[in-house]
């Protein structure tokens, strides 16, 4: 599905040069569930942003679905993102001014899908993650777990091939964390590729492959016995 070769990302300020990613080689196949782990500042999130086309590499190659995407203009990247990628964040990132339903619908707005079709798909996905009864509420009226379920619904409603989750359970208690993990597992079982950054070894166990990072490099990869 995607492959990175010699991929580096350097942040420059006037005086300091920080290498966030250093010569990364990474292959991810369709249908995989991958967890990325490592201490704070090791470059996990930068790598995830890179995969999600939210950031561009300083050097190296990145092929997404067989197409070279390093150095593509922002408009092209936005197009790929909206067709193929769903995002889940640690802090949910719901829009406070919109209801649950409208937040989920947001992911379909830029796809040029008719209102009727949108409503059908939003209803279906809200049912699936179990927040249909909260459709008219505002994010601030929900618990953290419920908010993250809305975020998951929003990430999957456009049926992306790839879901990127940046510490999706980081702000949740154990019970709600497990809930979200089971949801991701279910999505993966249905064929969606999932890449997740996490600090929790327990949650990393849901993944088929765990990538350990340190100081912007991939330290080791370990495949979980199926």
């Amino acid at each position: 599905m995607l492959s990175m070769r010699n991929l580096s990302r350097v942040y420059r300020t006037d005086t300091v040069e920080t290498s966030a990613l250093d010569q990364i080689d990474l292959e991810i196949a369709s249908g995989e569930f991958i967890a990325i782990m490592g201490p704070s500042g090791c470059g996990k999130s930068t790598l995830l942003n890179m995969i999600g086309l939210l950031d561009s590499p300083t050097s190296g190659s990145y092929r997404f679905d067989g197409e070279e995407v390093a150095g593509l203009p922002e408009a092209k990247l936005a197009g790929i993102r909206k067709r193929s990628i769903g995002f889940i964040f640690q802090s949910f990132n719901l829009v406070d001014e919109l209801t649950v339903r409208e937040n989920v619908e947001l992911a379909l707005l830029y796809h040029g899908i008719g209102a009727g079709e949108r409503a059908r798909r939003v209803d279906a996905v809200m049912d699936k993650v179990g927040i249909a009864h909260r459709a008219r509420h505002r994010p601030s009226q929900l618990s953290g777990g419920q908010q993250q379920r809305v975020a998951v619904a929003r990430a999957v409603v456009a049926a992306p091939k790839l879901i990127l989750a940046d510490e999706p359970t980081g702000n949740l208690d154990t019970v709600h964390g497990e809930e979200v993990m089971r949801m991701l597992q279910l999505l993966n079982a249905e064929g969606t590729t999932v890449v997740m950054v996490t600090h929790s070894p327990a949650h990393a166990d849901y993944a088929q492959r765990v990538v350990n990072m340190l100081d912007g490099r991939i330290l080791q990869e370990r495949r979980r016995a199926a």
Binding site: S45, D55, A75, K82, H111
Partner: protein, 838 residues
């Protein structure tokens, strides 16, 4: 998608009430100001367009240049002879009409005498000035010299109906009553007309036009119009007029040279629709627009609107961090930048649209007030060619896009990866704070500038109203109409009877009164000087100086006791031969006369002090034959006076008594003005029942001199208030959002030991600095503008530092007050709360 934009926009507004109110109120003020000014500009530029085929109609205007001073004046009055000569020589002219306003006394509905304006016109008038007729035919209305056409409201006032054709209007004059038959009734002219005629009658050459006037090119007595043939352009005519007048104008001999009567005049045909704003003096209706004033007001309205747009931009960027997450999220979900820019423009358009609704309400509510204040019947409707709908929609779109464009680009610049990372609001990109400060500086510069202008205008108006005019304005009643044929023979009786009215102390007839428009100049030669001085020369009666309360600086005033104080020729009132006149003038030349001069005249004549002028002899060219002076001895020097507007310089005056044209009677009185006036009026009505009593108190008349200036002052004050409100709204909003953003910093400062006082000082200083900087921009511009305005006055206040300091102090105080309340609240908050917040 648009529904989603709208949803977010409305909910975001509802959530941030302060933000919404500041933007909406600010924009509403700006839009309302713009729409009101638009209505005003439309009114001012729509003059005379109601006249049918007005594109073919032109007014003849003259520019007279004083060869001595080089100053020139353009007037709407032209000689009778010129338009006649013009029509004869230019084929492109289809028809022409000379018009002249007379102010006779007619009988009103009850039979009482009233002074009315009757316009005397040439036959083609209604062909040129095409207006709707209600009764009668414009082609035949003026056929009979004894008939008149009247407008609808005159018809109703005189006869109670507009069906007045065949009724009679009676004019009263010294020769007795004369009747005019109403031949037609036309619709009232709209107020947007440079002309005003309620009664029109045919002009009769010989009686209405003096025989000497027929060919005189120096007699600027009336208004002339021409209508060109269809398809003809005025430009070739105007291009030829200079050469034409040199060729055609009569010539006379002066000092052995042949001089053209039109040597000092140039002529021009001005399109009817441009007359009102042409700047030419002598409008027949007194209505005259000022293109500069319109431009200044339009500019100010646009400035206020710009300030409101600045508020929108400033608050939107200051609040950007609050929206950063939503923007980033939308980007992550696949929105491209143009879609997001579209979203923010939608938002600013929604805000602007709400503001426009509010503005329209304000406009509709303030319209009656504006109408009466401007004295204009300003039209207001939404639909139609001059409807307000189109400009309103246009303005809304324009403002929405202008205000929203920068924030739209600014807000969509965020990089989503940074913003979304740790649930943190993105740090502000550098530079936007500087832009905001710059914009605040500009806003306050506008406010301070307008406050300075307002203070200067009011200081000047107070100055001209309260300064010493050189005479006593209190307790003087000025009565007009003394020169009317029916009153003239009674003048002495009237004066004697009025003198007996309880409260009246003295009275005097005069040719120069308070706020009168006539000027009269005479050439004066001093012994041993070749050059002639041209000085204002006015005939006054004995006791004029005393009645007016003028100061006597040296010598004495004119009195009945000195034979030479009387400079009259002693001719019978009418019917005298030129031989009699010549004999009388020669006698006057032999015996000489006594005159009074004012200080300024004495100085012009070269006397170092008033006392030095006493007893000196000058020669005045006051006889009908050129080159023959009357020896005049200066017996008194009076202090300078301002009988007229302070815009004009102090007039040089030579006062003498020759019993000539004396249309005003000044009456000095003690006690209750209204009671005295009533008793004087009773005397008038008893002695001169055929002439209306037209009198005004000197102080009231003087106050009327500055009505225009006062309107300017009020307009400046209005705009200044609006500018300050809009500016402060913006400042308040900025303070609110910036302090909100600095909550954490303030918390840390407090934990580190800062007192409330320190925090307040910090915040207040942050927002006062731009206001102080604004002075640097505002002061020079306001100084320059006000120096220019003050130069239009001869008597003016010094442009000292007071208005500048006052305006700056005021603006700073308002700004500090605006910010301080907020700063105190933030500074008092418990720092723990602030720090836990992140």
């Amino acid at each position: 998608m648009w529904r989603n934009y709208a949803t977010v926009a409305f909910r975001s507004l509802a959530k941030n009430r302060t933000y919404a109110v500041i933007n909406i109120v600010g924009l509403a003020i700006g839009i309302a100001a713009c729409l009101l000014i638009l209505l005003y500009v439309r009114d001012q530029t729509s003059f005379d367009r109601f006249v049918g085929e007005h594109e073919r109609v032109f007014q003849l205007q003259a520019t007279n240049t004083d060869t001595e001073t080089g100053s020139s004046e353009t007037i709407q009055n032209t000689p009778y002879a010129v338009v006649h000569a013009l029509a004869k020589d230019f084929d492109a002219i289809e028809s022409f009409a000379y018009t002249h306003n007379d102010q006779p006394v007619i009988r009103d509905r009850t039979g009482a005498p009233v002074q009315e304006t009757i316009m005397e016109v040439e036959p083609a008038f209604f062909w040129i000035f095409k207006i709707p007729f209600i009764h009668g035919d414009p082609r035949t209305a003026l056929k009979d010299p004894n008939s008149v056409a009247i407008d609808e409201s005159t018809a109703r006032a005189m006869f109670g109906t507009d069906a007045a054709v065949g009724r009679t209007i009676t004019q009263l004059s010294s020769e007795g009553p004369s009747d005019y038959r109403v031949s037609a009734v036309y619709a009232d002219l709209p107020r947007s007309s440079h002309q005003a005629f309620g009664i029109v009658r045919r002009l009769v050459e010989g009686t209405d036009i003096h025989p000497d006037q027929v060919n005189a090119w120096g007699w600027f007595s009336g208004t002339s119009y021409v209508k060109l043939k269809p398809g003809q352009s005025v430009d070739p005519i105007n291009a030829q007029l200079d050469a034409w007048k040199e060729r055609v104008a009569p010539r006379y001999e002066a000092a052995g040279k042949s001089v053209s009567e039109a040597a000092q005049s140039t002529f021009k045909l001005v399109p009817l629709a441009d007359v009102y704003l042409s700047g030419a003096d002598g409008s027949p209706s007194g209505r005259r627009g000022n293109a500069t004033t319109i431009a200044v007001f339009a500019g100010l309205a646009v400035l206020i609107l710009a300030m409101a747009c600045v508020n929108f931009t400033n608050l939107a960027t200051a609040r950007a961090s609050a929206r950063a997450r939503e923007v980033s999220l939308r980007k992550v979900l696949g929105a491209d930048r143009s879609q997001l820019i579209g979203q923010f423009l939608t938002e600013s358009l929604i805000v602007t649209a709400i503001a426009t609704m509010l503005a329209l309400a304000v406009v509709e509510l303030s319209l009656p007030w504006l109408r009466s204040w401007l004295g204009a019947d300003i039209a207001f409707r939404y639909l139609g060619t001059d409807g307000l709908l189109l400009p309103t929609v246009g303005l809304t779109l324009l403002v929405g896009v202008l205000a929203g464009l920068y924030p739209a680009f600014y807000l969509t610049r965020f990089r989503p990866a940074e913003v979304l990372k740790a649930n943190k609001s993105s740090a502000e990109p550098g530079g936007s704070g500087r832009l905001r400060n710059t914009l605040v500086v500009v806003q306050f510069a506008i406010s301070i500038g307008l406050i300075i202008c307002t203070v200067v205008v009011y200081a000047q108006l107070t100055h001209v109203r309260t300064m010493d005019p050189g005479f006593d304005r209190e307790g003087v009643l000025q009565i007009d109409n003394l020169e009317r044929g029916q009153v003239k023979p009674l003048a002495e009786t009237l004066q004697r009877e009025i003198a007996r009215v309880p409260g009246v102390r003295s009275s005097a007839l005069t040719s120069i009164g308070i706020s009168t428009s006539n000027t009269s100049n005479l050439g004066v030669t001093l012994p041993g000087h070749a050059r002639e001085l041209v000085l204002g020369a006015y005939s006054v009666d004995h006791g004029f100086a005393e009645t007016m309360g003028m100061r006597l600086l040296a010598g004495r005033t004119l009195s009945r006791d000195h034979a030479l104080d009387d400079a009259s020729l002693g001719l019978p009132p009418d019917n005298f031969t030129s031989e009699q006149q010549r004999a009388a003038e020669e006698a006057l030349q032999r015996r000489g006369i006594n005159v009074m001069v004012n200080e300024s005249s004495a100085r012009q004549m070269g006397f170092r002090s008033p006392a030095e002028a006493i007893g000196k002899q000058i020669s005045m060219s006051m006889l009908s034959r050129d080159g023959h002076g009357v020896p005049a001895t200066i017996v008194g020097v009076l202090g300078d006076t301002r009988f007229r507007s302070a815009h004009r310089e102090v007039e040089d005056m030579i006062l003498f008594r020759n019993g000539g044209w004396l249309p005003y009677l000044e009456v000095r009185f003690d006690g209750d003005p209204a009671a005295v006036r009533e008793r004087v009026e009773a005397v008038w009505k008893r002695l001169a029942p055929d002439v209306p009593f037209d009198a005004e108190f000197a102080d009231e008349r003087a106050a009327g001199l500055y009505a225009r200036d006062e309107a300017v002052g009020q307009m400046f004050a209005g705009f200044a208030i609006l500018a300050v409100i809009v500016g402060c709204l913006g400042l308040f909003g900025l303070a609110a959002f910036t302090t909100e953003r600095r909550t954490k910093e303030i918390g840390i400062r407090k934990v580190l030991g800062a007192r409330t006082r320190d925090i307040v000082r910090l915040l207040v200083w942050q927002f006062s600095r731009p206001v102080l900087l604004a002075n640097l921009i505002a002061w020079p511009i306001a100084w320059w503008a006000m120096r220019d305005w003050l130069n239009g006055f001869d008597a003016r206040v010094a442009l000292g530092p007071t208005p500048f300091l006052l305006a700056s102090g005021g603006a700073a105080a308002i700004a500090v007050a605006t910010v301080a309340t907020h700063a105190i609240r933030v500074a008092r908050a418990n720092p723990v709360g602030a720090l836990r917040y992140e």
